[in-house]
């Protein structure tokens, strides 16, 4: 090995050593920078990109979910309202029917009672008339006995009986 300081720029052979140094230095630099700097940096940037992608996807899916839930809630609300209105209608109809039933019952019962009362009255009246009739006949018999106790002739009696009969027939 021999060291030699030359004073001027050499020719092509002087280039080889320097060139080799540059080549080796640059290759080492690429390797070192790739390992220590570019790879970690790229990883961080890729992670960020990934993160942003997932965040956006999450937000989208959450928006979709929210829209779906809203739709669902509205549907439930609509259903409930419809149900309530049917229930109300049913209840109203039921109440109306019951009302009608009650009124009808009351009417029937009242009519029944009136009819009963009427028949009662009728019967009482007939009974009373019957009573009166029997009393009248009793009285008639009494009167007749009184009359008979008096002295009546055949003619008078005959006339009397027919008159009574006539009167009884008119009744």
């Amino acid at each position: 090995m021999e060291f030699l300081f030359l004073t001027t720029l050499g020719t092509v052979p002087t280039a080889i050593g320097t060139s080799l140094v540059q080549l080796v230095a640059f290759l080492i630099l690429i390797g070192a920078l790739s390992y220590f700097v570019w790879k970690p940096l790229k990883k961080v940037m890729d992670n960020r990109e990934q993160l942003i992608h997932t965040e956006i996807d999450d937000a989208e899916s959450q928006n979709k979910e929210a829209a779906r839930l809203k739709e669902e809630n509205e549907a439930v609300l609509r259903d409930t309202q419809a149900e309530i209105s049917t229930m109300m209608d049913n209840a109203k109809q039921q109440a109306k029917k019951e009302q009608e039933d009650i009124i009808h019952d009351a009417n029937t019962r009242a009519n029944q009672m009136m009819a009963d009362a009427r028949t009662d009255i009728e019967r009482e009246k007939e009974k009373a008339i019957e009573d009166i009739n029997s009393q009248v006949s009793e009285l008639s018999v009494l009167i007749a006995e009184k009359m008979i106790s008096k002295e009546i002739d055949q003619e008078d009696q005959k006339e009397l009986v027919s008159r009574y009969l006539k009167e009884a027939g008119d009744k």
Binding site: F3, G10, A15, V21, L29, I30, F36, V37, V44, M45
Partner: protein
Amino acid sequence: MDHGAPIVELDIFGFPIYFNLSTVMMIVISSLLVFFLAFFMTRNLSVKPTGKKQVLMEVLMNFVKGIISGNMAWKQGGRFHFLALTLILYIAISNFLGLPFMFVAPDENHTLWWKSPTADPVVTLTLASLMIILTHYYGIKMRGIKAYFKSYATPVWFMAPFNIIEEFTYNLTLGLRLYGNIYAGEILLGLLAGLMTSGIIGFAGGIIPMMAWQGFSIYIGAIQAFIFVMLSMVYLSHKVADDH
């Protein structure tokens, strides 16, 4: 303003191999600087970044991703992401290294020690060659050897020589564009520095152009790093993409 270079000869297996010690030193410094800068800017990474450092690195990452996806589908270009990131950061930092000061040894050769590593054509051509070789490697790997050789005969077979020459011109232009820009910038910076140290009048006359040129050089350094990566990705996409 002729600067010497500290060339050292090392005999390895009987072959003399020469190293430009200044360039080697600057390559090592630049690489370490890039690594530790990127390393300490990406500590405490979190999905929800709290500091500006992580955000800055993520901006760079997305910027490079934009360069690649502007040329090819991300499905194909994603594998070049780390390569392009390292490349743009390394070239940009290398371009900036020569700006704040330069160091010339006080010996009779004016040996230049502190400079941008990219102000050395060997460095830029090495990087360019690496990228061109990678285009061929991935061209064969991703499209098959048949499609790779077929691509030389497009649009017609007699264009093949031009297509082959083109590969070498790509390499040269890619490397020398970067070298030329940075080297010229540093030459001008050296001249302005010489002017400013020549006397009170020279200092007064040189300070404004010095500041302007340093600011412009920062711009050039960033732009050249961008162009280098951009063109590398264009060449890669030529070889890798199925449709173009």
